[in-house]
Symmetry: D2
Subunit: 139 residues, 4 copies
């Protein structure tokens, strides 16, 4: 994906920008990002809130699935996000990547991994998305 | 739960406060909250980001499970968050509630629902949490 | 749903019959069943195998969703099954029920509960299904 | 894992044997199996029942996690099974493998994949398990 598009995604206001999550690369095969853990990501005990992990995986899966859908004149809608928490994190740099498990015409599934500075797995998740033909109204 | 404790939760810095999510009530039987949808909750197409829904359910489940764990000299650790997206939301007030499905000594599961102004279900999720006896180190 | 249809479901060969699971009622609002725990349901330690619980919830959700889809000239395809295990069971009669969480035109979600003789929750699960218009080929 | 142990698992009566699922290899790093699709695996439309896929992944994850737990004087209890269905199967030979995502002292997560004759992914799932020290009574 051309850097111009990644730049545009990173400048779009919303949850991902609010959280300081920076998309590094985006293609129909893989989407990656990085962010610096800060107070805005914490739950009350000072570790990264599970919802931030779920949200990062949702962000990557949605971008990837949209890149698959676009040339098919489709858009995607997230149905289910299932994220497993493996290791607590208090601070440092986190990196994440998502890759497709299936890219069917009616549904896609993307899998994502979040890793800490040492490359250890922090969280892993799956997002199932519905593919909708443009012009179709959702019931 | 005394209002003083709810107040303290609402003043604690972190993801939940950052997102403008306000806890209304919190007990070992139910935790509820409310928030006003804004740009900080959006994905690029202007609808509430799935990660926000996952995160709200994680917040409520974690508070509830902690209230169950506390008098048992336990703390809780989130293991899995599974959130299903039912209805897209662009703006307005969202309300959520979580209630326990099981409150065992080794694990708890809490279920949460997010509803829009009209009371329609927007998202539903489940969080499985591990209960750890205080003094135990996690492997 | 007329008893004749429930009878026909119960006589159809396949996994559900193999497991001795008997459908009691089936409508677009609720599907229920009962079964007697035996050796065929056990994992090696003599408790009911988690896959049996997942499968029972899949059975009920699929029947219910199909009953919703039929009058719309749609069929349904299961996308995701997420089942949580609450209480180990060795023997006795188990009963289960599933009810819809959403019955949209593009996807449905059904929720199911399995309970023991005492009415205690044994397992709870969710199935997300895709609705396909008849005549459409899956990509 | 010595063949003698795999043989013993395959001879143990219960759901896995009932379904004709044959364990091929079992170690703390990977567990694999194979089975021939037949009527006993079908849902009413003649495709493999989702519960069979969930159950196969549960079987493999449980064996693997138990092999990890044993030398630690622990046993494991399945908490959550989340299985995603990718491709419908009517007949043929299916093969599955599961590998650990995390093997912590308090919980494990195993991931499994089911593939058809052509090596195409049919289903993928995750099982989260609790590790219990022997001698501990579950609450």
């Amino acid at each position: 994906m051309p850097d111009a598009l990644v730049d545009r995604i990173n400048q779009t206001p919303g949850w991902t920008k609010e959280m300081g999550i920076v998309i590094l690369t985006a293609s129909p095969e893989e989407v990656t990002c990085v962010w610096e853990v800060g107070e805005r990501h914490h739950q009350p005990y000072g570790i990264v809130h599970g919802g931030v992990h779920s949200g990062v995986i949702e962000t990557l899966a949605s971008i990837g699935a949209a890149l698959v859908a676009l040339p098919r004149a489709q858009r995607v809608v997230g149905l289910e996000n299932h994220t497993s928490f493996i290791r607590a994190v208090r601070s440092g740099t986190l990196r994440a990547a998502a890759r497709p498990v299936t890219r069917g015409r009616t549904s896609q599934m993307w899998e994502g991994w979040i890793r800490n500075d040492k490359g250890e797995l922090v969280a892993q998740g799956h997002v199932r998305l519905l593919c909708i033909d443009e012009g179709t109204t959702l019931g």
